[in-house]
């Protein structure tokens, strides 16, 4: 139950945007930052309208690459989500397997993704698939950790009720453990949503990739001294993909676990 906002959402968002812009331009003026350190906001905005080498405007170039990255992220997100779920259910069923496998699952996340990405690209090729796999690599872990916790965190009396009703273990899983852990799953999916985008972009960095925001970022970084605004624009677009993913999960979450009192407001 939230108190009805007095100021409309759009107006509040706009106010925050204006404040950020003011701080940005204020800092630039105050510390006399040159554009290669911090470009003007309008320079970034105008970069989208500039024509690229092929004669297309950057808005269109960014949109195409963003779409490509988003698709890779989405496939990776789905792949990682399912993998994470399968691992969580396996761990919840068997302490023995959890004890055996968890160290490797944790180790997988301590290795920098930047070190692994080139190897995955070498193994699986430079197509979208290798990028999706790298995205999945970052996605599955939060799902595994949170979901296995959720599957275990069932109220003992809720379990006693199932036992009293002589429910089968299948029924206990599908009618109690799984629905009860959905809020945990969605908390993980929020984290995974942004992580999958990062995974896809990192997967696009190695030599040989031709599409995606990772490629745009690498190129923009090479020409940073000439046109710094281009890299900032690429960062902005990448961030937007992440935000869209996060919001999409939040929307689905509201629909699926609207019954839960622990669902965050956003």
């Amino acid at each position: 139950m939230t108190i009805a906002p007095r100021v409309p959402f759009a107006l509040r968002s706009l106010a925050i945007l204006v404040a950020i812009a003011a701080i940005w331009e204020g800092a630039k003026a105050l510390f006399a930052l040159p554009s290669y350190q911090l470009p003007h906001l309008h320079e970034i905005a105008l970069d989208f309208l500039r024509e690229g080498a092929g004669g297309e405007r950057w808005v269109w170039i960014m949109a195409q690459n963003a779409g490509y990255t988003a698709l890779e992220s989405l496939i990776g997100f789905a792949l990682g989500g399912v993998t994470g779920l399968v691992l969580a259910v396996t761990f919840a069923q068997s302490r023995w397997l959890e004890r055996g496998l968890l160290p490797y699952v944790v180790a997988s996340q301590t290795v920098p993704i930047l070190a692994i990405a080139p190897m995955v690209v070498v193994w699986l090729g430079t197509s979208w698939f290798s990028k999706a796999v790298i995205a999945a690599y970052l996605t599955f872990f939060p799902v595994t950790v949170n979901m296995s916790r959720g599957l275990r965190a069932v109220d003992p009396d809720a379990l006693a009720l199932m036992r009293a009703l002589s429910a089968s273990s299948r029924q206990i899983f599908f009618k109690l453990r799984f629905p009860a852990s959905l809020p945990y799953l969605f908390t993980a999916l929020r984290i995974s949503a942004t992580a999958s985008v990062i995974g896809a972009i990192v997967g696009e960095l190695p030599v040989g990739s031709r599409f995606g925001m990772g490629v745009v970022i690498v190129n923009a970084a090479q020409y940073y001294n000439w046109r710094p605004a281009n890299l900032w624009a690429a960062i902005l677009v990448s961030a937007v993909i992440g935000i869209v993913f996060y919001r999409a999960v939040a929307v689905v979450e509201r629909r699926v676990v609207g019954w839960s009192r622990v669902v965050p407001a956003v």
Binding site: D157, L165, S166, K175, P179, A180, W259
Partner: protein, 270 residues
């Protein structure tokens, strides 16, 4: 009174943990006849909840035998012979009120049409049919507990196990639900085993009250409640009501070291 429906013979329960062993129950024997309303009352930690859960085969006794409906407690559970109500309503929050009441019918594989018809009837019985489509958190604590009672009755069990079902409610709600519970019991003819720590509640509801000693829980005394039926609000004003309340209160205060059987009207007398 009918045939024995719950028979506990020499039940003992010791919980083992890293901190050591805790003896919760010692040598508890009790027979409940069909149609009875038996309350178990005692100080916190006296094992009264454990005793109820042993009857429901949710906890295994360390020794002794529990027989329910003439079978082992385990078989009675597998046959879904009893309905259970916990101290908290234990409603699944992703299910609507109706779907919560339906749960036992669903697990038992009943057809959808029958499930819904029966669940609506049960909600009418506890006066909550208009809330069928609500989610549990939209209901007050007392209403939630009524839903949980409706759910316990879903498979028309011959036994109701109730573990301090009204313990978390305020006095007024509790008294109203006591009244409603007796009406429900009269309609369903269920035998009730009822754990409580409210003396007045136990006297108002029961045919017999089992008074337990502090840990390790033993049966201190069994008080037969000879108040007229049906029990109504005026029952609470009868002199006999106060006498019984006093009797139970005194039993609770008595030295737990004294063997219950040595006192007149002690354990063993129906």
């Amino acid at each position: 009174m009918g045939a024995p429906i719950i028979e506990l013979a020499d039940i003992a329960k010791t919980f083992e943990s890293r901190a050591g062993a805790t003896e919760a129950l010692r040598a508890v024997s009790l027979t409940v006849q069909a149609g009875e309303f038996v309350s178990i009352i005692g100080p916190s930690g006296c094992g009264k909840s454990s005793l109820l859960r042993i009857v429901g085969d949710l906890v295994e006794p360390t020794s002794g035998v529990a027989r329910v409906s003439g079978k082992s407690a385990r078989q009675a559970r597998l046959d879904r012979d009893y309905g259970i109500v916990f101290q908290t309503p234990v409603l699944y929050e992703w299910r609507t009120v109706l779907d919560n009441v339906q749960l036992p019918l669903e697990l038992a594989g009943r057809a959808r049409g029958e499930r819904e018809q029966r669940s609506h009837a049960l909600l009418r019985l506890v006066g909550l049919d208009e809330f069928a489509g609500h989610h549990p958190w939209q209901l007050s604590g007392g209403m939630q507990q009524r839903v949980s009672i409706a759910r316990a009755l879903a498979l028309n069990p011959s036994i109701l196990l109730m573990d301090e079902p009204f313990g978390a409610l305020d006095e007024m709600t509790r008294e109203r639900l006591n009244q409603e519970l007796l009406q429900v019991c009269a309609e369903t003819a269920a035998t009730v085993l009822f754990v409580t720590h409210s003396i007045a509640e136990a006297v108002f509801l029961s045919t017999r009250i089992v008074v337990m000693s502090p840990r390790p829980g033993r049966i201190e005394r069994v008080v037969t409640v000879d108040l007229p039926r049906p029990r109504v609000d005026e029952t609470r004003a009868l002199p006999r009501f106060f006498e019984l309340v006093t009797e139970v209160r005194q039993s609770l205060r008595e030295d737990p070291g004294v063997a219950a059987d040595l006192r007149p009207g002690g354990a063993g007398s129906p």
